[in-house]
Amino acid sequence: MLFGETTTTGPTFFALAPLVLLFPLLGLLINLIWGGRLPEKAIGGIASGAVGLTFGVAILQMLSLFSHPEGTVIPLVDWITIGELNISWGIQVDTLSVTMMLVVSGVGCLIHIYAIAYMHDDVRLNGDPARYRRFFVFFNLFILAMMTLVSADNYLMLFVGWEGVGLCSYLLIGFWYDKGKDGIGNALAGNKAFITNRIGDFGFLLAAFTMFGLFGSFDFDQVFGQVEQVAELLPTGILLITIFMLIGVTGKSAQLPLYVWLPDAMAGPTPVSALIHAATMVTAGVYLITRSHPLYAVVPQAQSLVAWVGTLTALFAATIAIAQFDIKKVLAYSTISQLGFMVAAVGMGAYVPGMFHLVTHAFFKALLFLSSGSVIQGVERGLHEVEHHHKGKHSAGHHLDPQDMRNMGGLRERMPTTFWVYLIGALALAGIMPLAGFWSKDEILLKASYKDVRLYTLLSIAAFFTAFYMARQIILVFFGKPRSEAAAYASESPKLITIPLIILAVLSVFGGALNLPGIHAFGHWLEHTVHHVPGVKGGVELPEFSLQVAAISTGIALLAIILGWLIYARWGETLQKEKKPYVDPLELTAKPIFSVLTNKYWVDELYWALLVNPYKAFSRWLAEQVDWRFWHDWLHDAVLVNGFKRLTVLLAQPIDLGIIDGIANGLATLIQGGAAYLRRFQTGYVRNYALAVFFGVVAIMSYLIFVLR
């Protein structure tokens, strides 16, 4: 059965939808309670199994949607009822939310399996095997929060999930909180992610409050049902909501200007980068806008703002990625750039291409991150090898950074499987036909080409840079000769790591089949949920294939790859023979531009100078001048204390002691004394107790005689 086909009969499993929350919850509870006594394999197996079962439930939901594409809402509980406010929590089952469920649990399951082996080594390299269980508890907690986010039937529960994934992100970025630069580098990275996201979340909250003020509800159905009425009455209200929401999106999905946390987030273990910071959590913003498309549909200004934010982010991040040397940092900026593509797409009203790119990106970016993890561990194994078997020969290996691409090279022969899957992921990302990334990116570019030629041009340049930095990365890591001992002795990763990679590689190759031009299976699938696109009646826009656009984008990608090959393979090889420490060929020719890019346009420094340092200075001023010198020294000590001292001198001491102390101590003694007095009635004699009852009766009767008279 194809995606788009619908039949009227068939079984439905909608009632099972709440299980998508239950399974990860069970997984995390089991590991939390009994994990301490379980072996590592069992912990990882339970966690992966829980996500696998969640995936199974998501599949059942998909099958049910084939026959009942309109979807449903499974009510769970009435969460809060205060007066008129009633917030219930239900599971939204429709084609959009189930798409997200499938991606989150499907890719999530593969990454969980990968992490069984990866974390086994990681906890040992970092010297604390006890954290193995903690990792999987956090990982399942993340899946639970992400499922809450995508399955919520109202904005408030969506926010609960939104905050939940933010918390998990924070916990996992700082997973090795005692490691990193100066021993707190990772913890600071976690803080940065959390605080930056708080700014975005503040926007989300403003959107939610405004929404409640205008619509009186958080429910998707109720809000979207009233959009047209409210839009006539108060169009600026909806504009405010959508722009506040965009602030939330720029935080969670790492768009300009709040993207700065994502590169630092690479401090987390690699499976975390793959699952949270590439495939799922960061796409929540794209999901949010797609979910809220009825709101965006009535405010074109907000739409174009979204499109521009996405486009500029796509270009901006792609340029930075060119000049990074950390293998994961390149991928991080690439993720920001690709998220920019998605945001640009949904901003242009191209919800299907946006979601399509979200799905394919989840495949190939998860693949790339996991493969980079495999590379890093391969190099670390090489490092280990060098230190143990070739002692004294080479001592520089001690401080070698296993993530720096300058220390790699030639890994193609040492790690063949990793190389091939990495190559597939890179080609998919670069947009080479017929891999998945080509089809989804092509649809976005196609839409941009007749929406706004400026957007189209900028996105095409971003696509050029994308292909270029991926070519650079592949060549630096896998081709040429090893540039360090560690790279020379690197070895391939175990099966548990390579098998998920192979599965993801297959998905990255064939993922484009979801929405081939002409068939548009994915488009027909989504149009049951996404159907408020302006200018298009009765369904989503399904752009037809344009040979011109496809040819240009393929040409751009090929050109970039060839250029990369010439610069890094040819020229780089010759350079390498002369100079011992590796120098990027671009650094030699265009040093000023390159160092701007390496230093990420000094945006972090700019934020420090403009926001963080002034804020700190202001806090310090408040603390030192206002609080300490004015409030404490002057007002408190000079005015209050001295004044009070003078007052006490003025008033006679007996009054002071008698009244002030008397009241303070008196209250305490009164209660204590009262208690002690009442306690004396507790004699222990039954006769006295009976007497107390009797007195009570007498008191009641005397009262009754008084009132009944």
Binding site: V77, D78, W79, I80, T81, I671, Q672, G674, A675, A676, L678, R679, F681, Q682, G684, V686, N688, Y689, A690, A692, V693, F695, G696, V697, A699, I700, M701, Y703, L704, V707, L708
Partner: protein, 482 residues
């Protein structure tokens, strides 16, 4: 006839199970006492299932209007059966450690529960009295279960003597009401009062006497004097059960009889109920401050909480509010059940032979040595104070709301101020656990630790999802049998 039996089926199940358990126990060997406990728990679970299945929205009277099965009674049945299950969980290991593991304990527990359930269903004052005796007599025996120890015997005798004394007031009150209205049916009393054929003096005095008797059961001041001595002397597992079950049963009768039968007497009874509630809150909370024994502390705490629940009765006569107030009282009882059993589970976990380990000082250092247990105890203490996010906070919230809507601002203020005072002694336990050094000894008893852990989780979790629970309590409205 079958419809009648079906209506009271949960009581029949528990009563019959208790009888069968007594007989079956003869054939269970000494060293297999665990089986008796499991069988008793099974009976309670069967009761719960039956109660769930016959739960109905339409009230069903049985046996010519003597008993009634409605939402109110089925909510209370759940409460009683739960307290039975938790009562078994905290008792099993404890009885063995104290060398008083005799299996009639479980039969007595079931008999007492059947009495409590009957109390919730009573639609006739005679049934109220029978249920009162049925639930009390097993409790007298259980209070003296530690018959080798003097204070246990003393507790049983005190409880019995004073209970009989209070029971006398109830019977006298019923007799006066019968004299005034010619009936003991709640519905008939109401119609007699409304038609004006009843003598108001006899009726009011009768109602006041019933209030005295039930006030004794729920430990309201000044009928509370037995509580600290009995709670301290009785085996801890009995105290835990008694503090919740007997109190809930007393309130079941108090709410049903007073709110249904005497709304027209509100101008005379409300000041009385007001004073009783205020006095109970004040005395209970203040005397608790000077206690150094944890069992006595919890005894005064139990008195204080009776005062809070009594606040629900001052809405008597305001027909719009009574249902809400009754629902708030039911919710408070459920919150109290969870919190109290949790706290007692911790107390029992620390109690050693010869009554050692019961001083608050014995809790010093618990936070360091047994962090989970100390955390659970802190949760219970916070819930007893009424701090969010615990279920105890919501219990107080709903109660105070009902009281304020009834216009009793003064009483609400007393309630808030006394719960402020209560923070002093509840937090002292927390302070001792975390801020003083010590070497606490904790019994290895998995069942106890699970009870404490699950109660703590429930206390926290239910506070987040309190709305459905409160709605369930709201649906459990009272009906008078026709």
């Amino acid at each position: 006839m079958w419809a009648d039996r079906l209506a009271v089926l949960p009581v029949i199940v528990i009563g019959a199970w208790a009888v069968l358990l007594t007989v079956a126990d003869l054939y269970i060997p000494e060293h297999r006492r665990r089986i008796t406990a499991i069988l008793a728990a099974l009976g309670l679970i069967v009761g719960l299932v039956v109660n769930l299945f016959i739960q109905r929205h339409n009230p069903q009277t049985a046996y010519f209007g003597l008993a009634i099965a409605d939402g109110f009674s089925s909510f209370l049945n759940v409460l009683f059966l739960l307290s039975g299950l938790l009562g078994i969980a905290v008792a099993h290991g404890y009885l063995q450690r104290q060398n008083i593991a005799r299996s009639e304990y479980y039969s007595l527990l079931l008999f007492s529960i059947s009495g409590m359930m009957l109390m919730g269903m009573a639609a006739d004052l005679i049934i109220v009295f029978i249920a009162l005796e049925l639930l009390s007599i097993p409790l007298y025996v259980m209070a003296g279960f530690h018959r080798d120890r003097l204070d246990s015997e003393e507790a049983a005798l005190k409880y019995f003597l004073l209970g009989a004394f209070a029971g006398g007031f109830v019977v006298y009150g019923i007799a006066l009401i019968y004299g005034a209205t010619g009936s003991t049916r709640i519905a008939a009393i109401l119609s007699a009062v409304q038609s004006g054929s009843a003598s108001p003096i006899l009726l009011t005095v009768g109602a006041a006497l019933i209030l005295v008797g039930l006030g004794f059961k729920v430990a309201a001041v000044p009928f509370h004097m037995w509580t600290p001595d009995v709670y301290q002397g009785a085996p801890s597992s009995v105290t835990a059960f008694m503090a919740v079950g007997a109190k809930a049963a007393g309130f079941a009768a108090l709410l049903r009889v007073f709110l249904l039968a005497f709304p027209t007497l509100s101008d005379k009874l409300v000041p009385l109920l007001w004073a009783l509630a205020a006095l109970t809150m004040i005395v209970g909370n203040i005397v608790a401050i000077v206690q150094s024994n944890i069992k006595r502390l919890l005894a005064y705490s139990s008195i204080a909480h009776a005062g809070y629940i009594l606040m629900a009765t001052v809405t008597l006569g305001q027909s719009r509010l009574m249902a809400d107030a009754a629902a708030a009282a039911l919710f408070y009882l459920l919150a109290y059940l969870l919190t109290n059993f949790g706290a007692w589970a911790v107390v029992i976990a620390l109690e050693r032979e010869e009554g050692k380990g019961l001083s608050i000082q014995d809790y010093a250092g618990l936070g360091k040595k047994y962090p989970a247990l100390a955390a659970a105890m802190s949760v219970f203490m916070l819930s007893l104070i009424g701090v969010p996010p615990t279920v105890g906070f919501l219990g107080k919230f709903y109660l105070f709301r009902a009281v304020l809507e009834g216009g009793f601002v003064g009483l609400a203020v007393i309630g808030v101020l006394t719960s402020l005072v209560s923070a002093y002694y509840y937090l002292r336990v927390v302070v001792v656990m975390y801020m003083q050094e010590g070497e606490p000894v904790v019994n290895r008893d998995a069942l106890l630790h699970w009870t404490a852990a699950l109660s703590a989780i429930a206390v926290l979790a239910l506070s987040l999802f309190a709305t459905p629970l409160f709605q369930w309590a709201t649906q459990a409205t009272l009906y008078a049998a026709q």
